[in-house]
Amino acid sequence: MFKKILIANRGEIALRVIRACRELGIRTVAIHSEVDAQSLHVRYADEHVCVGPAEGGLSYRNIPNVLSAAEITGVDAIHPGYGFLAENAHFAEVCESIGITFIGPSSEHIALLSDKSQARAHMKKHGIPVLPGSDGEIEDPKACRSTAKKLGYPVIVKASAGGGGRGMRVVWHEEDLDQAVESAQLEASTAFGHGGVYLERFFEDPRHIEFQVMADHQGHVVHFQERDCSVQRRYQKVVEESPSPALDESTRRKMGQVAVKVMKSVKYRNAGTVEFLMDAKGQFYFMEVNTRIQVEHAVTEVVTGVDLIKEQIRVAAGHGLSYKQSDIQLVGHAIECRINAEDPVRMTPSPGVVTKFCVPGGPGIRVDTAMDTSGVVSPFYDSMIAKLIASGRDRSEALARMRRALDEFVIEGIQSNILLHRRILDHPDFQKGPVSTRFLDRLLTLQSV
């Protein structure tokens, strides 16, 4: 097992990894930017190294400084968390080359799966159901129009290197296609340095279902059932839950098998998530693989009783999976609300000094946060300040707990999206469940009318 791990991240996920390391008896090194010198992840770690100024690109994403920090502290491994360097194939490759274990998949996995068009083609070849779409990237405008016609409108133009909704365009009429492709290419080229785009059929009311998977270096792959992440705003997940109210037992089993097949087809290792789009009729399609631990991994931990971060570390150290597929049983129901520092009306980040921060407690409540009883929400980083996870015997108990926990949460000094969560939780469509990925946009539109 590793003796010392550097956590190449900040905030709640850095704390999450430090906690896992402490429970495993592994020493930890925190890295931090200058403005984060007093952050909780720095104070909780055994050692800490400043790696640059506030801007993430110069500190948390600064590969030479992060790796130098790993070298001078003599760590065996680096946990990248999510965001920053977590899906940077080059970073993973350099780690490998200097003999420091990158806790995650290999650089080849990241490279293959981060190219959505390439991943799509690979999965199609391996008999995984993918969304109807173009074969690879669009080259010729004429061929593109004929593909779109075959798919039937609306279609969606997506950047191969895309993520977070950038380089995406929904096209409802043929006459808008050429321009949509061009502007998507331009946006993708600017945002990701690669302008390639491809076409897919567009579903109006899809559900976002994802399967958490873990694979060891011995070729074993286990999935931990699904999470439903359909409550999104502009492709940003807001509420996640497990199990999904949209799945029946037989679909769940089928999707789980497909998820495992996806990972086996690339000989994946460590934690990853297979994302599916599901239409209103229950038909599901492979969308992409996230080659990292995700924000919402905690809901899966709560319903399966598995510590995914510890399992990541064990697997990266060469241990076989400590669970067989049959060991993974969902017990009860869990739901997560991402608590963001944001203006409740304009929904823009609301950084500032937190003057009071009092988290909910009692049965069925888990809070992951790097916020102390007071602290600072820095304008330089993500606005998520806490993950609030409520669980119960069934969905209705989990929802009831979440509602009372949201009522208990006291945050002063900055604004937060707690009231937005209350509105979501109170909405009859959500309470009945399942909802589509357009639920939240509709809720917000209606409200502003």
């Binding site: 055994d46 800490h48 190294v49 400043c50 506030a54 400084n65 992060v66 130098s68 070298e71």
Partner: protein, 152 residues
């Protein structure tokens, strides 16, 4: 403002600092003195053992690698990268500079090795090396003070 008033104010500020007060008022002749300390939120470290191999830096301002030090006279040369600090080009060589050395802008002060690359750190201004703050072969973090320079 007469110098005496200034002195008086500075005295009060000193008392304010010394006793962690938030307010101090003084009125001569009629005497009237007023002291006040607001209960402030104190951010303190958690009760866990922190074993540090690298010196934490309390508050280094952002970008420039040469900054005015607390004495207002000296310039502090800080490390622009994370790595290992070397005072000489090789174990047998003489240090690039010693305390007392006069340096020219652009002159090499030390090396910070990172990822097998030797990064030469140069003086940003002419001056005299007043203090070498880090021992050779020690790891340094971003922004860590390396030298104090008395600028000419």
């Amino acid at each position: 403002m007469p110098e005496s008033s200034r002195r008086e104010i500075e005295d009060l500020v000193e008392l304010l600092n010394q006793y962690h007060l938030t307010e101090l008022e003084l009125e001569k002749k009629g005497v009237r003195i007023r002291v006040r300390r607001d209960p402030a939120p104190i951010i303190t470290a958690p009760s866990i053992e922190v074993a540090t191999t690298v010196e934490p830096i309390s508050s280094t301002p952002s970008s420039p690698s040469v900054q005015p030090s607390e004495s207002l006279h000296f310039l502090t040369v800080t490390s622009p990268i994370v790595g290992t600090f070397y005072r000489a080009s090789s174990p047998d060589a003489d240090p690039y500079v010693d305390e007392g050395t006069l340096v020219k802008k652009g002159q090499i002060l030390c090396i910070v090795e990172a990822m097998k690359l030797m990064n030469e750190i140069e003086a940003e201004a002419d001056g005299k090396v007043v203090k070498v703050l880090v021992e050779s072969t020690t790891p340094v973090e971003f922004g860590q003070p390396l030298f104090l320079i008395d600028p000419l």
